[in-house]
């Protein structure tokens, strides 16, 4: 499938990127935002890797009888980016856990409402007893 020439790979990348972006800006749940962020991240990875592809090329591992290799540089960048990505995601998750403990919710709206309430009355917010969706 990668033998077809064209730009469709980039278009799919853009689609995925926008899907992740949409999740990040439209959804209120912080964990879901992180999932959206990782979808976004993955689209960037796909973009880099598609740029490094050479038609008819082989994986950049020296093999006998192969002269055309794909570009190893994007691979290196993305390889480290993936692992760094998981580390940063973990930091995000830790922040979410702390937010959950401090505010009792991981929904953006609740957090904002609690912040506003805290601004008006300094006693601090009461428990935001939002019953979970069944």
């Amino acid at each position: 499938m990668s033998d077809l020439p064209g730009l469709y790979n980039y278009w799919v990348t853009v689609f995925l990127m926008m899907a992740g972006f949409y999740v990040v800006i439209s959804q209120g749940n912080l964990v879901k935002k992180l999932v959206g962020l990782s979808v976004f991240q993955t689209s960037v990875f796909i973009f880099y890797i598609s740029m490094g592809k050479v038609a008819g090329g082989h994986a950049p591992i020296l093999t006998e009888g192969v002269t055309v290799y794909s570009n190893p540089l994007p691979h290196v960048l993305i390889l480290t980016a993936i692992v760094v990505g998981v580390a940063t995601t973990a930091v995000g998750l830790a922040l979410v856990v702390r937010i959950r403990e401090a505010y009792g919710s991981v929904e953006e709206d609740d957090i904002q409402a609690l912040d506003n309430a805290a601004d008006t009355e300094p006693d601090g917010p009461a428990d935001s007893a939002e019953s979970p969706r069944p």
């Binding site: 790979n9 853009v14 995925l16 800006i25 749940n29 979808v39 990875f45 591992i61 190893p72 993936i82």
Partner: protein, 316 residues
């Protein structure tokens, strides 16, 4: 075909509100991505994506969900405004791609600049068949050092945020899943295989796909599996958190120490030719050490993050 799968999974991720399902779908998604990477010749990247995206990220997200709750509320505002923003951005980006080089074009600007040197000289200068490892550890050793450090910092940040839980917090084997005899036996059988495979990946990285990043993640996966099935207490006895923190620092130290050694000998920082009389031999040795450092760091940091997330009790 794969791209269609990817798109549909992305759509489903947007729609579904059960966050558990979202995480499951995203791990299927990352399997697909990894297959796509295989198809685009990026063997090492596929390796990393499979180990990280499907394994570790999923497990970390699940242990967060355990703490934060499973259901997402319906967003309070309508989807129209974000949709407009997204479509405008997407249209702009697609317009931008129209000038981009075609997929697989060997004359594209990306292929012209540095890559040919790596491809032609890499195997000669560094002396290992896997160019990705050569570029990763030798030519771009500084970058990789920085990235190892980022991982280390991220681990420290998570530990600062969540606190260090010393010792077992829960009784071993309290989950119902741990009572399943078949599962316990098979897991006991599989874990040595995973560890062995991790070692293979670590030291075979010069010749085939693999390297320190992947091996560290695979090692951590084995311990995570042990923890999942046998309960938190048991895994913590095998790999105590305090050791992990020291190991994480040790990995970075090994990497930095290699660089400093070459500095002492009178060569530039991280110039592995200093390690031996024969430059190629020295390169080989240096890459091996550096990958070892990276592997140790990644393993211990990933496992420490997992402990920190999973050991925390649910807030009331």
């Amino acid at each position: 075909m794969l791209l269609a799968f990817l798109m549909s999974i992305a759509l489903a991720v947007i729609r579904v509100r059960d966050l558990f399902v979202v995480v499951m779908l995203s791990s299927v998604y990352s399997f697909m991505t990894a297959t796509l990477f295989m198809d685009l010749d990026a063997v090492d990247v596929a390796f990393t994506e499979a180990a990280v995206g499907a394994g570790v990220t999923g497990v970390l997200m699940l242990s967060t969900l355990r703490l934060t709750g499973r259901w997402e509320r319906r967003p309070s505002h309508g989807p129209l405004l974000p949709l407009i923003v997204v479509s405008i951005t997407g249209a702009a980006l697609i317009y931008g791609t129209l000038d981009a080089p075609l997929l697989g074009d060997p004359m594209a600007p990306v292929q012209q600049h540095v890559a040919p040197r790596y491809i032609e000289q890499g195997p000669v200068e560094v002396g290992m068949p896997n160019m990705v490892t050569a570029v990763l550890a030798s030519y771009r050793g500084f970058d990789t050092f920085g990235e190892t450090f980022v991982i280390f910092t991220a681990g420290i940040a998570v530990l600062l945020l969540l606190g260090i839980q010393e010792g077992p917090q829960t009784k071993p084997g309290r989950t119902a899943i741990g009572d399943q005899l078949v599962l316990r036996v098979v897991v006991k059988m599989v874990i040595p295989l995973i560890l062995l495979y991790g070692l293979y990946v670590q030291f075979h990285g010069d010749f085939g796909a693999g390297g320190g990043f992947q091996a560290g993640v695979i090692f951590a996966t084995a311990f995570v599996l042990y923890d999942l099935v046998f309960g938190e207490g048991d895994a913590r006895l095998v790999a105590p958190p305090s050791w992990l923190h020291r190991l994480g620092a040790l990995g970075v130290l090994i990497y930095g120490g290699v660089g400093l050694y070459s500095l002492f000998v009178g060569k530039p920082f991280l110039d592995y030719s200093a390690l031996s009389h024969d430059p190629v031999h020295g390169q080989h040795f240096g890459v091996l050490l550096v990958e070892l450092g990276v592997g140790i760091t990644v393993f211990s940091i990933v496992l420490a993050i997992f402990y920190a997330l999973s050991g925390r009790n649910k807030a009331t």
